[in-house]
Symmetry: C2
Subunit: 246 residues, 2 copies
DNA sequence: TGTATCCATACGTATAGACGTTTCCTCTCC
DNA sequence: GGAGAGGAAACGTCTATACGTATGGATACA
């Protein structure tokens, strides 16, 4: 990490500046609830305009690294606020953030005619032609954590094979690198469910055990739905975490 | 809603402009996935600088009303993305958003010595002197929805009485209007739990029934903890909803 | 007919400067 | 000693201007 803004760098200056300040916060150089240099001072220090400084601070404020107090200054947020857990993450990223080794076992992958409920979530007419469905057993440190069923709405003529999935590592990687589809927003619901005999067997628990059922509809850059995911988490192993903002 | 920016208005111009555009989107005057006037055009139309226009659009983008495409324009987001459900809400607000009439029955209100787990969440040393605890039965359309236990960290010498709670209507209103404490962020966890006989009786369900356990730590303006809330929701009546963003 | 280039338009980044508002400290006067 | 006025410092809002970069269509040319 550099300690000055480089005008020749390809990335925006406000972005470079935000990285510099974030680094100084993470290393502890700037202390919690202590003021960071004022906007005018940083204008001098980093040889950028105050607008650029403010743009960098806006970014850091949204990311939860700093908070501002009108007439007083800009302060470092407590460390714990820095983990933005509820950011849009895949199961793998989610597990890694918790320090658990993610794993998976693909149970089925292929084209199926989506049931009515799924059509509604994906904003499709019912009945609808077959779309891609992937069923997976999700593992955490080797033991079953959840049972995931995902439906994907791909552009016409696109197909995903098991081989390709292996190459790219994850569906999200594949979608981003091959089709330039990036998840930007999602609506998620959580409720309690009870395991059917079939689900129980796969998750290695007793039938009727309580589960945490998560359903997520994911939107891409242009705010169109491209994914519907349903995950049944083992009630005894999984805790959902979120960060709420006003 | 006015249709022009008033320089004499006390509120910032970018805020006024955002309101105007939001209104035009909500009424359907600006259509989904259609471009809104370009930044330069709005500069002319509303007689403000482009910076101000962009500031208004930044706000609307964060609120999910519009999305931008570099080199093409700014577009109206689909209507459904406009309900930002996961915003920080109280139980009452949450219920109202779902069209359910909220209600409550205060079971207990008073000072207690917080247990160790609660001290940790509130960043207090254990043992700690008594703090305010409120235990409530939460109702939706008259029937039990959840059992809530809240701990509040109030400034020295502050007390809350049942009478005051009645006057202000809700704890949040009281905190905001009397003590100027406003919730700005929160960390929440959700997991599955099973009802103890006592909890079951209060919630009018069978002992051992699955529950959705929510634990929330809430932060005020200066990013300090002021509240820890634990709610046991009836698994058969409550669905948690959230909106995730990248 | 097809392709390559150019250009208008839109958003993205950046600067310099001005004035408003809040906070807090200091100094003065009673 | 206390209350009030004044001022410095910090964030908040706003303008005018310039140049960068992505998109998509029009135009020119092979």
């Amino acid at each position: 990490m550099t300690d000055s803004v480089d005008p020749k760098d390809i990335s925006p200056r406000y972005y470079q500046l935000a990285n510099i300040i974030r680094e100084r916060i993470i290393t502890g150089e700037l202390e919690q609830h202590k003021p960071i240099p004022s906007e005018r001072q940083m204008e001098e220090i980093y040889s950028v305009s105050r607008t650029t400084v403010r743009q960098a601070l806006d970014l850091l404020e949204r990311q939860g690294y700093v908070y501002r107090e009108h007439g007083r200054g800009t302060f470092v947020s407590p460390q714990k606020l820095q983990k933005r857990i509820s950011d849009l993450t895949s199961f793998s990223e989610d597990m890694k953030q918790r320090g658990i080794e993610p794993g998976q076992k693909i149970l089925e992958i292929g084209l199926v005619e989506p049931p009515e409920g799924v059509c509604r979530k994906l904003e499709l007419t019912f009945p609808h032609e077959p779309i891609l469905r992937i069923t997976r057993l999700r593992l955490g440190d080797g033991t079953p954590m959840g049972l995931q069923t995902s439906y994907y709405l791909l552009p016409d003529g696109c197909e995903i094979t098991t081989a390709e999935l292996e190459v790219y590592g994850s569906v999200y990687n594949l979608l981003e690198e091959k089709l330039h589809i990036v998840p930007t927003e999602a609506d998620e619901t959580l409720e309690v469910a009870l395991a059917t005999p079939n689900e129980a067997a796969l998750l290695q628990i007793k039938p009727g055990s309580p589960l945490l059922l998560s359903e997520r509809t994911t939107y891409s850059q242009n705010r169109r739905v491209f994914e519907f995911v349903k995950i049944l988490y083992r009630g005894d192993r999984y805790i959902y975490t979120a960060k709420l903002t006003r």
